[in-house]
């Protein structure tokens, strides 16, 4: 196994061109904090972005930031915070879930489209990303998008590489549109609701004009004896005062709203963002399902009826289900896949022992999109050197 640590995009391009020539397969590594996601693969080389670092552009008045692929998320966030700004999509941090150390890279965030609770209001990583530079499997450094907010020039390859888990190319630079940090953040809490009632409350809140920036439900026993249904409001203080009153009226039939602010509020949302509630025990399998919010409780009921010992919670107003289940047998794969097939959406086996990830579909099976997906992969990486099999067997 050869380890490459290019300092520049040109150097990375040369390394990849050489690897392509001899058809040597390669792992792309950022902070390696999420190396356990995806199908396990063995490659002949690793390219680490550890030296491809630094914020390359930050124009606060234009709400834009660029960084090299290996820049740490913490550096990007600190740069923004210094100007009272933030990444809109609230990138997830999987270190607790995987028990990993080190610093997540911004390229790794894009490669997995890792988006947190604010996704429902401000969009996913793919929505904030306005430009990329990548090295494709031919060893060509190419760009898509740029540094301006609105850009429809040519095919949107930036979106295509977001969430491609390194299988299409090496991200050498990424550019995001950003947002001002809110003046104030509060969390409103409802206690003791069933999953169905909780999702109904969250749907009512998200269908109101009062713009929650996050909406989640933590069933009973997840950290607290009583179920917690939580809404986050962000904005100017005077506006939040008004909206809190509006929510008290809107959600009166669901119970009394408790207010959380400061560290109590931010710690709770960090827990939701990073799936901390399900991190222990570390040997449990973790599934992540995206579906329509109102269908989520029934889907969970179907799955958990078949799997004793399952634990779960909902983000994205109910539309994102996190499930922890015993990693025995097929880690409930057949049950989850069947429930998603009938309820709609997609499921990813985020955490599981290596042998399970090797034998199961980790990502949602492609079905009719198999041909198109394989064609795109070949279009970027004709020799098939990038992360073979990481997403799909044989691709």
């Amino acid at each position: 196994m050869t380890l490459f640590t290019p300092r520049t995009e040109a150097e990375a391009a040369q390394i990849i061109a050489d690897l392509a020539l001899t058809k040597q397969t390669v792992t792309i590594q950022g902070g390696a904090t999420r190396a356990g996601i995806g199908r396990p693969n063995q490659t002949e080389a690793t390219i680490s972005t550890v030296r491809l670092t630094g914020v390359t552009l930050h124009e606060p008045a234009e709400l834009v930031i660029s960084a090299r692929g290996g820049a740490t998320v913490s550096e990007v966030e600190a740069t923004l915070a210094a100007k009272n700004q933030m990444l809109p999509f609230e990138p997830t941090d999987h270190r607790t879930l995987f028990g990993t150390r080190g610093e997540p890279s911004i390229g790794g965030v894009v490669a997995g489209n890792h988006s947190g609770p604010r996704r429902i209001q401000a969009g996913a990583c793919r929505d904030s990303l306005i430009g990329v530079r990548i090295v494709n499997g031919r060893g060509e450094a190419i760009k898509s998008g740029g540094r301006v907010m609105k850009n429809v020039t040519g095919l949107d390859l930036a979106k295509l590489v977001t969430g491609s888990w390194g299988t299409l190319g090496l991200l050498t630079e990424v550019t995001f549109k950003v947002l001002p940090r809110p003046e104030r953040t509060v969390t409103l809490l409802l206690k003791g609701l069933s999953d169905e009632r909780a999702v109904a409350a969250l749907s009512a809140a998200l269908g109101s004009p009062f713009e929650p920036s996050a909406a989640a439900h933590l069933p009973a026993g997840l950290g607290k004896p009583l179920a917690r249904t939580i809404l986050r409001l962000e904005g100017f203080s005077i506006s939040l005062d008004y909206r809190m009153g509006a929510f008290r009226r809107l959600l009166a039939s669901y119970g009394e709203l408790t207010l959380l602010e400061g560290e109590d509020s931010s710690r709770l949302w960090r827990g939701v963002r990073d799936c901390e509630f399900l991190a222990e025990p570390m040997d449990a399998a973790i599934w992540r399902i995206s579906t329509a919010p109102t269908r989520a409780p029934a889907m969970v009921a179907t799955i958990t009826a078949a799997v004793p010992g399952a634990r779960w919670f909902y983000d994205w107003g109910g539309g994102l289900i996190w499930l922890a289940m015993p990693a025995t047998g097929d880690a409930a794969s057949a049950t989850v896949r069947a429930a998603v097939a009938s309820g709609g959406g997609h499921a990813t086996l985020i955490r599981a022992p290596r042998d399970l990830r090797a034998s199961l579909d980790v990502f949602q099976p492609l079905g009719p999109l198999q041909m198109v997906t394989a064609g795109i992969k070949t279009g970027f990486d004709p020799s098939g050197i990038f992360e073979p099999g990481r997403m799909y067997a044989g691709m």
């Binding site: 095919l155 930036a158 979106k159 001002p180 329509a292 064609g375 279009g379 997403m391």
Partner: protein
């Protein structure tokens, strides 16, 4: 623009026209197949009327299956296909060609399902942008992207061009508001991407399809996000004595952590043209006008406006005029959204659509002014100030060939300028025919090659909207 070449029509295909028409006649109802020259005439161009080509035929299918049948037939017969929504493209996205069949989705105009609890609507591709909002308005919801042509343009066309609008500063463009697609590939295969959930599985094919300008397939259905409308919205007019001051005020508002739902800029000439058309009460003495819209409860709007007005005052604002009624609000937006149409009443114009980093605004405005003067022409500037998406309207007389050439050259120079300062050729209209040959200004060969390698997965023979987006030279097939 007359200099932009189309591929020479394939004489062999044209010679087979009777057989092609006979084949199509078996696939769609008689009234859904247009073959007579007079009836083909309305389809000879889109809103970029400088290009007119009569297609072989126009098919107007009523179902996804009919679209699939026509696509399969055309691909097997090797006949080019030009998809069409409502034909409002400003860049020739739907310009036909003589050896092509146009597939229009205008008959597929049904709202299939509205799901308020999950905040989605499933619609057919021919539904107009505004019809989606109209369908969900009763529930207090709206569909966010709002191109100026929203009364006429179809969601299928919006998806093809990744359309924007005045309110995307807060709500994003089409690609941020679509969750699922049903579409027909060139071989007639029907695929579904995404659904009514967030973020589709696997590669982001939704992101790829949206803005692909009808080159990868034909969308027949879409599931879009619908949003609950704010309790109220209030646009305010801010008149400035100098364009730079307006530009600096925009930067300062964003710098203060305020993202208004819209920030629109008009220069003196645009103000005059639009005021004459809409009588919106625009300040005629101002050199630059910002329309800034805030939304929320009365109290929230008041609070935001206090902050914005304080910033505007620091930047020498000379007029501040708040909308006092729904009628005034409508008039203010009518003026802005009619900018192109109103300009068309006083002169012919070329509308540019580049985006620039907003920090370069004062410099770019000065340079546009110099360019226009250099060519001896006039320009009206309207643009989305918050996101740097410029729409300079270069005025000229279409009956004067020399002036027409000057206007075309001037427009191209403006787009080159946008790219030079770090921006792009098109912010929301698309590349189409109009900017096709400028693509190498923004992209290196390997950038375009990579795009074409992805394109080739869907259309290796260049049959789908083939004259668009990519320069005719150096094309990559399968």
């Amino acid at each position: 623009m007359s200099a932009i070449a189309f591929p020479v029509p394939d004489a062999a295909i044209m010679a087979r026209r009777p057989a092609i028409l006979a084949g199509l006649a078996k696939l769609v109802a008689p009234e859904a197949l247009i073959t007579h020259e007079d009836e083909l005439r309305p389809y000879e161009s889109d809103a970029l009327t400088a290009f007119r080509k009569l297609p072989l035929a126009v098919a107007l299918p009523s179902t996804t299956e009919e679209v699939a049948a026509v696509m399969r037939f055309c691909s097997q017969a090797g006949v080019p296909v030009v998809p069409r929504g409502s034909g409002t493209s400003l860049v020739g996205g739907a310009t036909p060609q003589e050896d092509a069949v146009v597939i229009g989705v205008s008959k597929m105009n049904r709202i299939i399902e509205i799901d308020y609890a999950n905040r989605t609507a499933k619609v057919q591709a021919g539904v107009t942008n505004l019809a989606i909002t109209a369908a969900v308005m009763a529930g207090g919801f709206f569909y966010a992207p709002d191109p100026s042509s929203q009364l006429a343009c179809s969601i299928g066309g919006n998806i093809a061009m990744n359309s924007g609008g005045a309110h995307c500063l807060k709500y994003g463009v089409t690609t941020n508001n679509v969750l699922g697609l049903k579409m027909v590939l060139l071989n007639g295969e029907i695929i579904e991407i995404g659904g009514d959930h967030l973020d589709s599985a696997g590669y982001d094919l939704l992101g790829l399809m949206i803005g692909s300008e009808g080159q990868l397939g034909i969308v027949t259905e879409a599931t879009v996000r619908i949003l609950r409308a704010a309790e109220g919205a209030r646009p305010v007019l801010f008149g400035f004595p100098k364009p730079e001051l307006a530009g600096a005020a925009v930067a300062a508002i964003i710098g203060a952590g305020i993202i208004p739902v819209a920030m629109e800029y008009m220069d003196k000439m645009a103000i005059a043209i639009c005021e004459d058309f809409a009588h919106a009460g625009y300040p005629m003495d101002a050199e630059a006008l910002l329309i800034i819209e805030v939304e929320g409860s009365e109290q929230e709007m008041d609070d935001q406006l206090v902050r914005i007005i304080e910033i505007a005052r620091k930047h020498g604002v000379t007029t501040i005029k708040e909308s006092k009624s729904a009628m005034e609000t409508a008039a203010i937006w009518k003026g802005r959204k009619s900018a192109f149409g109103a300009t068309g009443k006083i002169a012919d114009y070329i509308c540019m659509d580049g985006t620039i980093p907003t920090g370069r605004l004062p410099e770019v405005l000065t340079k546009i002014d110099e360019l226009v003067k250099h060519y001896g022409l006039r320009v009206a500037n309207v643009f989305h100030a918050g996101d740097g998406n410029l729409h300079p309207l270069v005025l000229y007389n279409i009956n004067d060939p020399v002036e027409r050439q000057k206007a075309e050259d001037c427009g191209l120079d403006i787009l080159r300028l946008c790219v030079e300062v770090g921006g792009c050729l098109t912010g929301e209209h698309g590349v189409g025919v109009e900017k096709r040959d400028l693509m190498p200004v923004q992209f290196a060969k390997c950038d375009l090659d990579q795009q074409m390698r992805v394109r080739a997965v869907f259309d290796p023979k260049w049959l789908l909207n083939p004259a668009k987006v990519f320069p005719l030279e150096g094309r990559i097939a399968a």
